[in-house]
Symmetry: C2
Subunit: 603 residues, 2 copies
Amino acid sequence: MNTPLQKLLENCYDDLLGDLSGKVADYIPELSKSDPKRFGISLTTLDGHIYDIGDSQFPFTIQSISKAFVFSMALENLGSNHVESVIGVEPSGEAFNAIRLTADNRPFNPMVNAGAIACTGLIVATEGKKAFDKIHETLSRFAGRKLGVDEEVYRSESLTGDRNRAIAWLLRNYSRLPENVDLVLDVYFKQCSILVTSHDLSVMAATLANSGINPVTGEQIISPYVVARTLSVMTSSGMYDYAGQWLYKVGMPAKSGVGGGIIASLPATLGLGTYSPNLDSYGNSVRGIRVCEKISSYLNLHVLSQKTDIKTCILADYGLSGISSRRSRRHEEVNILQDHHDEVRIIELIGALTFATMDYVSRAVITSSANLKYLILDLRRVSGITDAAKILLNSLQNDVEHNGIYIIFSGRTISSDDLNHIASKNTLLKNLNFRILDEAIEWVEDDIIKRYAELLNPNELVSLSEQFLLAGFTDKEIETISGLCIERNYKSGEQILFAGDSSKSFYFLLLGKVSVRLRSGIRLSSLSAGMSFGEMALLENLRSADVWADTDVRCLELTLHAYNNFTKAFPECGEKLMKNGALLLSQRLRMANAKVDILSSSN
Amino acid sequence: MNTPLQKLLENCYDDLLGDLSGKVADYIPELSKSDPKRFGISLTTLDGHIYDIGDSQFPFTIQSISKAFVFSMALENLGSNHVESVIGVEPSGEAFNAIRLTADNRPFNPMVNAGAIACTGLIVATEGKKAFDKIHETLSRFAGRKLGVDEEVYRSESLTGDRNRAIAWLLRNYSRLPENVDLVLDVYFKQCSILVTSHDLSVMAATLANSGINPVTGEQIISPYVVARTLSVMTSSGMYDYAGQWLYKVGMPAKSGVGGGIIASLPATLGLGTYSPNLDSYGNSVRGIRVCEKISSYLNLHVLSQKTDIKTCILADYGLSGISSRRSRRHEEVNILQDHHDEVRIIELIGALTFATMDYVSRAVITSSANLKYLILDLRRVSGITDAAKILLNSLQNDVEHNGIYIIFSGRTISSDDLNHIASKNTLLKNLNFRILDEAIEWVEDDIIKRYAELLNPNELVSLSEQFLLAGFTDKEIETISGLCIERNYKSGEQILFAGDSSKSFYFLLLGKVSVRLRSGIRLSSLSAGMSFGEMALLENLRSADVWADTDVRCLELTLHAYNNFTKAFPECGEKLMKNGALLLSQRLRMANAKVDILSSSN
């Protein structure tokens, strides 16, 4: 099967394949040799999947499309104040190669030749002779591979680039270029001669659509701030004096090059790269423009048409009522937790935390009950946190803690780096980050029990008569069982039982803690002294999970053989023990079902 | 506690409160009476929460802000072709009240007076004398309340509006206005005199940010297509010849009015409304502009800076291995399902289904195993489906079904309306929509069992000896129990047990089906003949759930009193029965834990 989008792009390609209107660029002899039949369409999604149709691997020179990326590079490396002092951001209303500057003698914007040359000049001013290498390297990072250079086109550009020389010297006249004007021009001609394919262009466009992160390599090339400014000048000036209509009709920030390439970048959605050398009277690739128009109109895609639902950012929102960590606790502890269940609130979040979702979460948080003491925010499914969300999150955190409430993060480490906008960082942060939600809940439970109960001495032995599984047994029965058991001791970290082994005994925990885990590492339960483990041996022939000692552990092992002899002598005990086991299972089942229902309900 | 955003807006308000630079509009005598100290800031979120600071309830005239909404109304009611034939969409590069048209004698765009008057003319041409009422009603729907009109300002506008009269007659000269020019002007003056507050403006702006749906009332006022076009002209022409810089720096489509109001609309994020009557030399509210600038720069909000993570749209993706519906099934049926677990794939989706997420889902789907026969898409947490997503979804569905795979929807009815772009609608759709996922899974299980097993006669009695809970009992034991039971019959739909009742007996199901449900309606399990219910009576004193007859039911009731007598006579039977019960509980617990782990894992 192909995906619907693959078919849609193929249909688009087929529809336009026969359209050979327009003509190839001829202002440089080398470009006039292009084959007008070449046609490639590539679309890169923001998870890094690339759709390629037609001549998507055919190389051609990037030309003016380089302007957008070199501008973003200048903003990123030199800062916006510096760049904006040299280059404007208003549409010029003139041809791209006009020799005209603003009233204060700056190029109108970085998408016309004057602005692009000034931009290259900024790179030359700081990098000197390494300027081209830096540009080449940066554009290659946008594409995710080392790009080539067409030396023939470069020489041809250089030989015929007298109008650009005129522009450069005019800029130099107003001190908008560094001294070495020839070097600037050389770098500019060479940057225009970098070889790309529609495949490359789609990845470069997708990097702009993806907050500056190359979706294939995962590398952050430029900051979200720079992305927004680069797409802004593409929007207002990328398609020359067609900008208002382009935004209105197509609604995708775009840039074309006379080499036949076009990029279109739809934020948070896709990057498009096309190649078709025949140009219209504006110098834009005819079929490239049509591809953008078709995709936009057929799918009603437009940068200003966005759909979101902030409410789905909260996957689940619940308290401790009927819910617990997977640590099994003694009856008295469970009672304490249920008495204080309204001191805990657990909010599981999903997706990208943005301004809108973080505000929604903060409004949910401030409606908490007056009894709230612990707020757990589970971020395991949070894919990213925008600057705005970090600011709101930090402010919320300060406020929540100011009100005497612990704020606890799980599933994703909230580092000081995440909150780097803020001067006063919270000292609690380091301690209240948990790898998984279950550990966070367990910590909260422990803390509540510590506050409301005399802490049971963890070194105190829990006798056989206090074992949950033996509740209701007479002294004589306990004494008999005791004589059948073998004492076992394990060091902290030692594995006690192995999934897959045949199950020939079960254990009463007298001292310490153990955890029952699947091979995958998922914790099924943790047990404290007074609980048993391995008791599924009474029902099943093989161990279904591993058991590990979390601390030094002392326990009593009872073999099935000995147990069976015991129940023959005390027939009622088999039913009593099985009933205690069923009671435990039913409690755990109720808890697990409650969790499923919480996670499955929609808001 | 206040939310972080509340504080941030209050800080912004405090910072700007003392800034009384600029001056109130004086071209209309009435406007010059405004109090320059008035200052209101309102922000409406896309879930309909409104933050109000300062004079957010103080009414003032909407003036030029009406242009954006009347344009959207014309597009919505008259269609884009008609509107675009009369009005352009390029920035004019001139003052808003310029008497100049494009080469083909159209106003440059709907944000200058000429374009706005032409737009009002379009409404007058179709609505005649009802034109103002229609405009008034539409703007009121954008605001979510019936707006007033300032009759004084209206008269003042009319008395002093000679330049607009000149523009109107010029338009009439080129047949861009209907005959009744005086009526058009009257409607135009009156529409500018509609009274709003910053609170209203923020709701109106949020409606544009929310795909045309008023986030407070929930009403769809205009289509997403029209939203995108309205925001486009606001972006390219809303802030006059400052548009390039405004987009670059602030990045929020905006529109101001000389009454002192400003709207800013950040798609998928927020709507902002401000009021402060002092204007700068462009005619924009000084403090309103600063509010937009501050919020944008402090939070790094920008329409072209968007963060998303398409991968989180798939909340869970799993098969039938280790998972089932909450219908308990007999051993043979469970075996069939486990043998064919790879015929089923369940994908639970979350959030707004968009172009990007639907493409991601479709790529996940086409990687399915060759054995796939049933694809369940759970949409319970899907908040909306864009046009693009509908197109891709329909194409995917056709393809999947073409490959002989059932596609099944749960949690949200996928109607023909959802797929209204497509001519050939699928006839299966109606049948394969389930209210909840569990029902969809149950249907698939039934279908698999039907295909691979001789369907067991649903009218066949399952005898006591075949009861799961009595496995391993001897004939004599069965016979004895049989003598202790009382036969009970229930009609389909009848309630058998009630949560909260004291539990004095349990039941063996001989014929038919029952469901165990919480008061909330959540199904804990469904049981077929051969299973028992109410057996928690052996562990607990009170019924914890309701039990309903799903079909006509025949069962045997065994009181605890009789059971206890029985186990005294047959001591080993207590353990056997309790062990069978524990086995059942452990199977259900394993299933529930597997589901929790699936729903809790991040992708």
